[in-house]
Symmetry: C2
Subunit: 253 residues, 2 copies
């Protein structure tokens, strides 16, 4: 433990020297109300990310690699994912299901876990490498996020249509279908992947545009479940409630 | 510790029997992937509140009283409040200050801490009692939330106009001014309290309407800092960034 604390302390200095974009703990800001442990600071960083007070980061703070690892594998991430999925189910079961009611699910980090990838890449401390990530995606070995799969099965049994809306490109359709089925997602109404010809400034605009298209086609979006704020903000969120799953490892604009 | 766990367990059963509105851990939902400790469940509940996945609750879960007390007094609440206020300052210091730029601050739970009140009332497990709360407010003894005061002083020194926008009624103007000054908030451009004749369905609409009025008066809202989502959502948030301070004790519509 003592050793860890020392490592964290050294990491803090390094991180400070590196001067991250979001400038989490600048040396020059002595707030003068006491030191915080690294675990505490990283828990605050994570909370600020989930409440959308911190966004647009390219990497997580160096000193937060260990706390993030502990968060992901120590049970709290699973518990947090469970609570959000429970809320989605508790909301859904009160609804009267109509013909064209759909629940939207994101895929990476929501329906399918990419923890196996990120655990090999510093839990978000490394800059995103699309080549390596695509290689991993193309293996089609992503496990389900168990809490999302559980909720998905509940929503299917309630009679809701499931639409997967992902930023994955259409060239990944086959591997995505196979991976979803292998992970236990046996049925869906639509699987929407990104047309490489579709130009959008960011994921938020792309997903908003796809939702708009769904609504023009007569679907009613009653719920959106995703791990990124760009899955949930933007326009054409319909009459839906949105559910933000935790993701302490990366941020998508 | 063992004893605590037992107490928590008993509390869980009671809470389940009581069947809370938001129905956090219904007995009939066996999610089948392991039990969670009460601390873990309550941390997930708190995160879900901060990420706006859980809202509209009248009381916190009975079993979460102890974990909330530990969160508030154990340093994490202070750390979380610090990180959010830091982010507001890091955002503000990059801005070019113009004549009519204002930062909005909420008062209760944001500028002034009401932890002294809630620590006497079960940290949110008791239903809100406006008579008792008003009695406490009228004493004018609320301390500053230290992290907010620190940020406030930074923003003042940057040259921003400060506007306090509160749901407190106008009959509390004198005690509110005195309390703010006693707590260290020495200057502000406007203090907006609620006109009892102003009819709004909820705090969100009231605060949106007050922001609209400010903007019509030529002010530019560059930042909003509050502990309730109703401080930050709604319309006329201007070009502002909003900053959600933690509040695990109560929810205002």
């Amino acid at each position: 433990m003592k050793m860890k604390v020392l490592v964290f302390f050294v990491a803090t200095i390094l991180a400070a020297w590196e001067c991250h974009a979001y400038d989490m703990f600048p040396l020059r800001m002595n707030t003068g109300y006491g030191d915080r442990s690294t675990e505490m600071k990283c828990a605050s960083w994570r909370l600020a990310v989930e409440a959308h007070n911190i966004f647009g980061f390219e990497t997580i703070p160096k000193e937060c690699v260990e706390p993030t690892k502990e968060y992901i594998h120590g049970g709290q991430y699973q518990s947090d994912s469970k609570t959000v999925n429970q809320q989605a189910y508790f909301y859904a079961r009160e609804l009267e299901v109509r013909e064209n009611d759909v629940f939207l699910f994101s895929i990476d980090g929501t329906a399918l876990s990419n923890v196996p990838y990120y655990s090999e890449h510093g839990y978000g401390v490394e800059k995103f490498n699309s080549t390596l990530y695509d290689e991993w995606v193309n293996k089609g070995v992503a496990p389900a996020l168990p809490e999302t799969l559980y909720n998905y099965n509940k929503l299917v049994s309630l009679g809701f249509k499931i639409v997967f809306l992902s930023g994955r490109l259409q060239d990944k359709e086959e591997v995505t279908k196979a991976n979803l089925k292998a992970a236990g997602y046996n049925t869906w109404h639509r699987l929407i992947l990104k047309d490489p010809k579709f130009i959008a400034p960011n994921a938020l605009e792309y997903k908003s545009a796809m939702r708009e298209k769904l609504m023009r086609q007569g679907y009613r979006i009653v719920g959106i479940i995703g791990d990124q704020w760009s899955d949930l903000l933007g326009h054409h969120t319909g009459d839906s409630r949105t559910f933000k799953l935790p993701n302490p490892m990366y941020y998508i604009e």
